[in-house]
């Protein structure tokens, strides 16, 4: 299947990552989903993931190269568990053409911008368009305005985020990886929105 972005193999696995499944069952109670984070460099994608997966925040966090792979399982109130297999992609321009490698077959895409950077919001819109064009048709899209703790330097009004997300059928939330604000909420909300495999 090479690098073609437009042919997600949804037939073999509605939520997962196509033919590269390496064991592990997929049942109604224990979901396993591929999630990809996209967005401009420096918006805090890695910080969101590290806060969610390890509960850490490193203010000197490092530029991601290629993409990092992490996983985290959460339990929902209806006693289902969701294992997120997270692709934390690099935001640099040179990796843009390689993004399909990582979002291909993803059940969830989290598009992140920095509320203190209008430019990163523009870039987020680019990623949304790209995902609409080339992502899975039933992909769950979330728009995240990160660095909400820096509200004094805000350049992107919360209303702009809400409106853009609504127009594009996305789930919207503002987070702060630094204060951990809304990080777990983000992933819990995503988990709730996942299409459940039919029970038989």
């Amino acid at each position: 299947m090479g690098c073609s972005a437009s042919l997600p193999e949804r037939s073999s696995n509605q939520l997962g990552r196509g033919n590269s499944e390496n064991g592990g069952g997929q049942d109604a109670k224990n979901l396993r989903v591929k999630l990809v984070l996209l967005g401009d460099s420096g918006v805090g994608k890695s910080c969101i993931v590290l806060r969610f997966v390890r509960g850490q925040f490193d203010p000197t966090s490092k530029v991601t190269v290629g993409a990092s792979f992490l996983s985290q399982t959460i339990a929902l109130q209806d006693s289902t568990t969701v294992k997120f297999e997270i692709w934390d992609t690099a935001g640099q321009e040179r990796y843009a053409s390689l993004a399909p490698l990582y979002y291909r077959g993803a059940a969830v895409a989290v598009v992140v911008y920095d509320i203190t950077s209008l430019e990163s919001f523009n870039k987020a819109q680019y990623w949304v368009k790209e995902l609409q064009k080339h992502g899975s048709s039933d992909i769950v899209l979330a728009l995240v305005g990160n660095k909400a703790d820096l509200h004094e330097q805000r350049e992107v009004p919360i209303q702009d985020g809400i409106e853009y997300a609504e127009k594009n059928g996305m789930f919207f939330i503002e987070t702060s990886a630094k204060t951990a604000d809304n990080i777990n909420e983000l992933f819990e909300e995503i988990a709730k929105r996942l299409p459940r495999p039919s029970t038989n």
């Binding site: 299947m1 090479g2 690098c3 073609s4 972005a5 437009s6 990552r17 590269s20 499944e21 390496n22 401009d40 460099s41 420096g42 918006v43 805090g44 890695s46 590290l50 966090s61 490092k62 530029v63 991601t64 190269v65 290629g66 993409a67 990092s68 792979f69 992490l70 934390d88 690099a90 640099q92 321009e93 040179r94 990796y95 843009a96 053409s97 390689l98 399909p100 490698l101 920095d114 203190t116 950077s117 430019e119 990163s120 523009n122 870039k123 819109q125 680019y126 368009k129 790209e130 080339h134 330097q153």
Partner: protein
Amino acid sequence: MPSDTGSSAPHHDLDPEPQSVEEQLASVTLSVSDGQPSTHQETNGVVLESVNQNTQLVMEEQLQHISVPAGEIDEVRESADRGVVWGRTASEVDMDGLSSPSSSGYAGERGSSSETSGSVIGDVVEQDEIEETRNDVIVDEVSESRTPWLPAKRHVDEDDASISWRKRKKHFFILSNSGKPIYSRYGDEHKLAGFSATLQAIISFVEDGGDCVKLLRAGKHQVVFLVKGPIYLVCISCTEEPYESLKGQLELIYDQMLVILTKSVNRCFEKNPKFDMTPLLGGTDVVFSSLIHSFSWNPATFLHAYTCLPLAYATRQAAGAILQDVADSGVLFAILMSRHKVVSLVGAQKASLHPDDMLLLANFVMSSESFRTSESFSPVCLPRYNPFAFLYAYIHYFDADTYLMLLTTNSDAFYHLKDCRIRIEAVLFKSNVLSEVQRSLIDGGMHIEDLLVDPLTRSESSSHLGQHKPPTESLERLKEPYLGVGGPAGLWHFIYRSIYLDQYVSSEFSSPINTPRQQKRLYRAYQKLFASMHDKGVGPHKTQFRRDENYVLLCWVTQDFELYAAFDPLADKASAIKACNRVCQWVKDVENEIFLLDFIAPSVSFRYTLQE
């Protein structure tokens, strides 16, 4: 070169008798002349070397024309505090240097390597579309507000008007052939637009004459140029390193850039000669600065060889076996390293890894902090393997020092490589490889104190590293660092490079070479020695013995190996030669532990004896 008061002997054997200082000075021609250009014109104290000799007249004329910047280099750098500004004259030349945040149209080629055709390039059209969309939507500049998210670059506040910037001993620049800055070791590239334009003017002036500028000398500064298609690389240095060494460093910097972008970046310049490449390298400053740092400590950068972590033969075999297993399942290269040393490495079928590619790959991985956080999957290019295509690297750190790199041509292989890593990890754990690696990192490899004074006792000791160390004696040495220093015959340090294996081993640093500054000085001395031994104009040489106020340096080159050894400056020549013979014997005795041996290449089996 005030430090070169030694002699050189470009003969098969060393000079039969130790010479007096006067005699040594009389035969100093080689070591001094290695800096002399073969083709040069001198104008205003600036010497310019170029490729074609027949363009000398053009050069002279040209130098007079551009003597504003070039002639001032010396004066300005010597007296930077007088505030003379060189290069500013050109700062108006290319005013659009800052203001063209264009999207690149850069789409690195995917792993379309020759062997496997797993990847489809059928989405080129889609890629173009993506790039166009992006053109409309975003402005690709590193915004000021978010710079702290990038790794800190050194001295970003500087530019070519800063005194501190001018006083830096060694600058490296990458620029485009339209004069746009791409990378500068010091200072902010964007502020150096004028300076870059000046460098570009020098290069293109010489190119207009159908020639290619190699080197400008101005006082104690050398300006070394390297042209790689649309990319220009320049080093300005007053470190007295040989031209060939500096040129080699520029080549490595260029190849490091290819590791990140591949040669397909050239197409961006074909589409748009004014293309601004800095956004494409966003966040990679640390990769380049770490490489440049290694030019002053890592012998691999001039030896073009790699080094192994010393390990018991069985331990390395265990690691090699599981890597081989994995390589047979569609992995192109499986490499296990600890810091910059190889634990084991395996290539699929006929694929072989060039030592320079290993150096650049290891530098890329070690300098990118994000690889330590979690397992990663990243495109990388190995310039000596295929400069036009990306391979895909699965990277995982087992501990703070030891990491696994699995390279493949298949962009979909992540989950397979992840499974491979889990298998490898289990085997490494079961056979204690990782703990042995940690132990080796602490113990080190060859300590010159262990080189036996009396070779007769050698047979009694086992041929394992470190086991014949007389413990009491070395303890005493630690207590008296200024007395009984080094090994026998005043041996301070050595590097042994096996030509067949593409590997080298260097002894551990010990007193008196125990500060970073002394190590760097010795490194530079080896580098110079290497360049003079391999000087195509004068060499090749078999042996060289030079004595200066810092060291006695002895170099011995055979078909199979090269030995570089540093001794106390008062060392006796005959004893130094004996010590070198013993080092070679020692290396042979422990070759199983210090080298990664494969079955084809002859190892250290040839016997040589250095004669007085």
